[in-house]
């Protein structure tokens, strides 16, 4: 929990560094002619956005949703299906996506919030699975093979089919979300959420209709994930049921924890480290003896797994969390 009053120095330095790095990445990429790294950057920010959305209920609200990939999918498919019918207006894409996921999130959230603890994890998972199989069933829209996106979202002059435009749009959206997140956490709503996480029984006794607020939080986080989905679709020019697979939901959780649960900037760090690791491990080259590199590349997922386990065991507050951890109190 980022305390309003006493920020340690690192608390300002780390975010500042992250933001600066992201802002300058395309420049560096074009300068070195390595435009591919701009793609990686976009990917990082898209997943950072999704993780940030999840973090709202996971980190601050203590609701473990194992099904948020579902909203990634809603976002992606809204773009894919609309452009399948020749609609390229980003505004329409956005409006549809948000409308649909609001509706879904309200219903699903209302049902899920009846359950608590493990049951909540499972029922969110169940809903995600339903939509996953639904997407596979959508033969008209590619079924399991997914749907290619011919027309990408165009917001007036901003055409997301241009990589750099897409990058900076993603950057802007992410930054706005993070600022909003930061404000929200310290506003009434945020205080309430954190209160529920800290001591739900007391919150009720104080007179808060807890569930209602949790539902709103759930919907908000779903909407952020939907935005991410929309950007993801524009990045990969593709919508696939695998966006909604249960292990994607799991991955999102990992991103949040990896970066630092309940810290505003944490998800960005998590996503960055995760995707960069993916890149590093899959194109591993330290010139290890007798083809060790190839072996590493072959089994990179295993190493990723080991790292995850290690982080889970040794870093209670994730990478960023441990960087800025204050003596004494924890980051949560």
């Amino acid at each position: 929990m980022a305390d309003h009053d006493n920020y340690t120095r690192t608390r300002w330095l780390a975010p500042a560094f992250v933001v600066a790095a992201l802002a300058l990445l395309p420049v560096a990429a074009h300068w070195t002619g390595q435009t591919y790294y701009q793609v990686i950057g976009t990917r990082i920010m898209v997943f950072a956005l999704a993780a940030a959305g999840l973090n709202l209920i996971l980190g601050f609200g203590a609701l473990v949703s194992m099904g948020h990939a579902l909203y990634l999918g809603v976002g992606a498919y809204s773009v894919a299906i609309l452009s399948h019918y020749g609609v390229s207006s980003g505004w329409i894409h956005l409006a549809t996506a948000l409308a649909i996921s609001t509706a879904c999130a309200f219903v699903i959230g209302a049902v899920c919030l009846r359950a608590t603890g493990v049951a909540f994890i499972m029922i969110t998972l169940a809903f995600a699975q339903m939509f996953y199989f639904l997407a596979i069933g959508l033969r008209a829209f590619g079924g399991d093979e997914g749907l290619q996106i011919s027309l990408r979202s165009r917001f007036g002059p901003l055409d997301l089919s241009d990589a750099t435009t897409l990058y900076y749009v993603a950057f802007a959206v992410l930054m706005l979300t993070l600022v909003a997140m930061h404000r929200l956490v310290h506003a009434r709503f945020g205080l309430l959420l954190r209160g529920v996480k800290n001591n739900e029984r007391r919150m009720r006794a104080l007179g808060f209709p807890v569930r209602r607020y949790q539902l709103v939080a759930y919907v908000l986080s779903a909407l952020v994930c939907t935005m991410a989905g929309l950007l993801l679709a524009n990045l990969t020019r593709f919508a696939s049921p695998s966006y909604m697979a249960w292990n994607v939901s799991g991955e999102l959780i990992v991103l949040v924890i990896l970066g630092g649960l309940g810290t505003v900037i944490g998800p960005v760090v998590g996503a960055g480290v995760w995707i960069v690791l993916e890149e590093t491990l899959t194109s591993f080259g330290l010139g290890l003896p007798n083809d060790g590199d190839a072996w590493m590349r072959e089994h990179w997922l295993g190493f990723l797994g080991l790292l995850i386990v290690w982080v889970a065991l040794s870093m209670r507050s994730g990478l960023y969390g441990s960087l800025v951890r204050r003596r004494g109190g924890t980051e949560r």
Binding site: Y36, R43, E145, F238, T280, G285, E298
Partner: protein, 393 residues
């Protein structure tokens, strides 16, 4: 508290690691992106494709068409979005002129367009979905394996020749499955007594098998690639159908699954473009070399990839290693001037092969290993039916 101190350093280390990889840039002759599925249920396919391709390269001392090649291996994990991501990487970071491999048609469908737009040559050595054979054909994309329908058509023809009257069909419920069953029905004239599509992730088919046998067919035609196939055959055997109901297949019995099936596959019939016993010198040498190198019988996936390598070898040598003239290189590829291990091989107007198709039976070889024995060749110089829709000259 020791952890306290190392945590930041670890975090820093991770970041520096990737920066390192960013700078890693070796100068290379001809770079070839090899994108295939190396993890998950279809990993064996990708492995065979890669092994065979590399075998061809090794046999030529690391060269194709007399030019040094550097093969960049990438794992699409059978996920289209990962595929597109990796294609961007191969083209934008490693700027490869050629991308080959390609295991899944879902991946191919996702990456075909981005690759064609960048005018990079795409040679699929396995997937061959119908849209790319028809309206979406392109001078930059070649399929060295087969169009999905034909390996089903040949089985349909075989079933007709064999005089089966009533046949039941089973396939997983996705586009590939649909195409295959459609292909079978195209050349099979008899009656279809049942057409069952099982959910994609489903691994237990006993219920459907019971349903099928209830309709008393003369034979069953089934298509289950990868994981499903093994389970399907085991259950077919356990249901006691192996002896009573002839099983015609495609995409189930091949070099990658036979070791896991052993006796339970004996007598099963499969249609394909290639088998280890095809009688031509090129093939004999290939099978021998492959077994010597990897100590297993090559699968058709290996064979197709090997043909793909031979194709590149011939084309590159025709243009003397100069890929900058794309028209010339496309023409060189199209002429397909190489000794295919399938015997005859040429490209149709849609850059899909026109080739003979065979029927194989699963048998034990001299060493007691399971292998495929060709028993018929119902279709000669067969082209897929989508070529007509391709407007490319």
């Amino acid at each position: 508290m020791k952890l306290e101190r190392i945590r930041p350093t670890v975090a820093a280390a991770l970041l520096s690691l990737c920066l390192g990889s960013a700078l890693a840039q070796a100068p290379a002759p001809i770079r070839i992106g090899f994108l295939a599925t190396f993890s998950g249920a279809l990993a064996p396919l990708g492995r065979d494709q890669y092994d065979a391709f590399m075998l061809a390269v090794e046999q030529r001392g690391g060269r194709l068409g007399g030019v040094q090649v550097q093969v960049l291996k990438e794992d699409d994990q059978f996920k289209p979005e990962v595929g597109t991501q990796l294609v961007q990487k191969l083209i934008e970071r490693d700027n490869v002129p050629i991308i080959t491999g390609i295991t899944g048609s879902n991946v191919l469908m996702a990456i075909a367009k981005p690759i064609a737009e960048k005018q990079v040559f795409l040679i699929s050595t396995n997937a061959g979905p119908s849209p790319l054979a028809g309206a979406q054909c392109s001078p930059y994309q070649f399929v060295a394996s087969w169009q999905a329908d034909v390996i089903a058509e040949v089985v349909g023809k075989y079933a007709a020749d064999k005089g089966y009257k009533r046949v039941a069909l089973m396939a997983p419920n996705y586009q590939g499955g649909k195409d295959i069953l459609a292909g079978f029905k195209r050349l099979f004239k008899g009656e279809i007594v049942g057409e069952i599509y099982t959910p994609l992730q489903q691994l237990d088919f006993s219920a459907e098998l019971a349903q099928v046998t209830a309709s008393k067919p003369d034979a069953l035609f089934a298509f289950y690639p990868g994981a499903g196939g093994v389970g399907f055959v085991r259950q077919y055997q356990q249901a006691g159908l192996l002896k009573t109901l002839p099983l015609l297949t495609t995409g189930i019995i091949d070099g990658t699954t036979l070791p896991a099936l052993r006796e339970s596959a004996l007598g099963i019939v499969a249609g394909h473009v290639w088998g280890p016993d095809l009688d031509n010198t090129a093939n004999r040498q290939f099978v021998q070399a492959f077994e010597a190198r990897y100590d297993r019988i090559p699968s058709n996936f290996a064979a197709q990839a090997y043909d793909g390598a031979l194709l590149l070898d011939s084309a590159i040598s025709t243009v003397k290693g100069n890929l900058s003239d794309k028209i010339a290189f496309a023409a060189a590829l199209k002429s397909a001037d190489f000794k295919s291990i399938r015997g005859k091989f040429q490209f149709g107007r849609n850059n899909f092969p026109v080739q003979d198709l065979f029927i194989f039976e699963a048998v034990k070889d001299a060493k007691g290993r399971m292998t495929m024995k060709s028993i018929a060749a119902p279709l000669k110089n067969h082209a897929d039916m989508y070529a007509a829709q391709c407007l490319m000259k």
